[in-house]
Symmetry: C2
Amino acid sequence: MGNMTIKDIAKKCGVGVSTVSRAMNNHPDINPETKEKILQTIAESNYVPNNSARNLKRTDAKAIAVLVKGIGNTFFNDLVSGLERECQRMNYSCILQHVEEQEDELDIALHITKEKKPRGLVFLGGSFSHPREKMEQLEIPYVLSTIRAADMEEKYAAVSVDDFKESYKMTEYLINLGHERIAILTAPKEDKSIGKLRLLGYRKALQDYGIPYSEELVSYMNAEEDRYSFRSGYKLTKQLLQDTEFTALYATSDTMAIGACRALKEAGISVPAQCSVAGFDGMDTGEFYIPSITTIRQPVEKIAKATADLLFDMIKGKEKPHQLVFEGELLKRESTVPPVKRKF
Amino acid sequence: MGNMTIKDIAKKCGVGVSTVSRAMNNHPDINPETKEKILQTIAESNYVPNNSARNLKRTDAKAIAVLVKGIGNTFFNDLVSGLERECQRMNYSCILQHVEEQEDELDIALHITKEKKPRGLVFLGGSFSHPREKMEQLEIPYVLSTIRAADMEEKYAAVSVDDFKESYKMTEYLINLGHERIAILTAPKEDKSIGKLRLLGYRKALQDYGIPYSEELVSYMNAEEDRYSFRSGYKLTKQLLQDTEFTALYATSDTMAIGACRALKEAGISVPAQCSVAGFDGMDTGEFYIPSITTIRQPVEKIAKATADLLFDMIKGKEKPHQLVFEGELLKRESTVPPVKRKF
DNA sequence: TTGTATGCGTTATCAA
DNA sequence: TTGATAACGCATACAA
C-alpha cells in the first residue's frame, strides 16, 4: 500500500484521527492500551506520517539548517557529519546548504528560514561580520560553530576553540623551538573572523617574545578563492618563497599546510629539516601525512555535539544564547623541529 | 513582517490567490503585466512561499534525497557538493542522509521516501546487492552514483566509471613498470560492489600478463570499520607487511593509499624507491601529497552533473533508467616507479 | 485571463 | 479519554 494516511490508521484501529495523532506524538492524555494498539498497527502497516503536512500544521519544520561556507576546507565535513548525527538522534531533519564564497550567508539564512521554517540554524565557516540589525531579523535560534568574530556581539551563541589563544600557543611553540622568522598563511585582509583572530594570536606571541612583526612574512589568502584549501596553501607559499625567507611556516589550516609542503618541496626545501611547517585543525590527513603535521587539534566531535545541544536547548527555550569555548590541543608532530641557523 | 502568505500578496496586488500562484509557478495562462506586477510585489515584500504547504499540495516535495554510505572516504564530499549545486540550479532541495556502515540503505531510502516524499533518490557508496523485489518497492526514480554491483540489474540507473576496466588499467600500468608482486587493499570479502569490481580488474590484469594471483597479497577491509579511510589503509598495510613482501601496493582509494604510505614509512620502506603505491579516485589530497599519488581520476564533476541530470530527466519522465559510464584517467605521478629487483 | 472554492495530511481545539 | 472539525498555506479544477 503506497500512500497510507493517518485516516487509514484511524479506520484500521477503529478510532479517530486525533487519537492516532496523540499516540504518535506522545501526548499524555491517551489510554496506554489504545496507544499501544495504535503504535502496533502503525508498525505493521509501515505507515510514515507525511512530513510536509506535519510541518505545515506546526508552522515550523522539525529541522535545523546548517549553512556551510567554504568547501575547500574538509574540516567542516567532520563537523557536518557530527551535526547530522545529533539531528538523527533528536529525530530532527538536517537541511544542508552550501554557501559560496561570494554569497552572503545571512541573506541565505533569512531566505531558508522563511522557506523551510527550520527551528534553528548553524553557521559554519565564513567571516561573520553582519550588522546587528540584520542579525536581528533572524527570528529563530542560531549557533555559530567554529566561527568567532573579532568584535563579536556577546549575545550570539557560539561554539569554538579560542582561536586567538590557540594560535598564540602554536606560535609560541615555534618560537620556543628557536624560530624567529615564522611565515604565516592567513585569511584575506578583510577577514574579521577566525582568520583575524589567528593572525592576532600570532602577532601577540611574536610581540611577547620580542620578535619583530614583519608584513612580508604574512601571506593573505585571495578573497575570491576557496579558502583554507590545499591549493591556496600551495599558492601562497609559492609567492612567499619569492619574496622572503623563513625557517618556519605556520599555515592556519592543515590542508593549507599540506599545500605549503608541496610548494616547499618544489623549491627544493625539505620539511622539516630546512623549514618547519605547522597547521591548524587536527584533521586525519595531517596525521597520516609524511611528515605528520604539527597542529592544533580542535575537538570536532565535542564541538559538533555542543553546537547541537546548545541549539536544541535554545529551541526548547531551556537556554539563552551564550558562548562555549573548547580547549584546543597542540599536537607536536614531525613537521616541526628547531631551525637550522642560516644567515639572511 | 514575519509571516506573509500568498493571501497577503494577493490582497496587496488586488488579485486572487490563484493568480499569484500562477505568477510564481510560471503558468502560461496569465497576463504578462499582472504577472510582472505580482512578482515585483513579491520581491519587495520579501515573501517566500511555505515549502511544506507546497509539498503537501503537490503530494511530493520538490526535493531529492542523497544517501551517503561511508564517511571515511572524503571522495563523496566532492560528489555531494556537486549534487547539491545541481539541486540549487534546479531549485530543488537536497536532503542529505548519512547511512552507517551496518545500516541498510534501502530500508532508509524506503522510509525517507514516505516521510519526506522526495521526487528522486541518489545512492552514494555502499555495496548494492538488494533483492530485486525489494528494490521495486522504491516507487520513485533513483540513480546509483559511483556504485555498480557486479551482477547489477540492467534496469537500474547508474553513473560511474567502469571500475573493472579502470582497475585493470592501473594494474596493467604497474605490471608494465615491471612489478610482479603487487599487493592490493580492497573491500571486505562480502563486497559485491565497486570493491569487487576493482579486485576483479586487478585479477584479470594479472592473469592476462601471466602473473600468478596470490591471496596473500590481497588485504580485505574489515566489514565493520569505516571503509576506504586513511586508517583502514594504514592498518591493512601493517598487516600485509607482516605476512608477505611486494614491490607495489595498489590501494583502491587515495585515502587508503596515503594511510598505506605511513605504514610503509614506519616499516622503514620508502615510497616509491622501495615500494610503489597507487590509489584510486583522483582526489586533491593525493595531488598534494609527497610523493604525489598515482591514481585513477574519476571525473567527479561530470559524474555529479550526469547523476543529477539523469535523475531530473527521469523525474520529468524524459528518460528511462539507464547506465552512464565515464572514462577514468590514469594519472601517473611520483608514487610509482619501476621496482628495485629484490629476492624473495 | 481571472477568482472562488476545495482538499492535500497533519495537529490542536473543543465539546462530548 | 476520546472524536469531530477547523485550521495550516498552497495549487488547481472549475466557474466566471
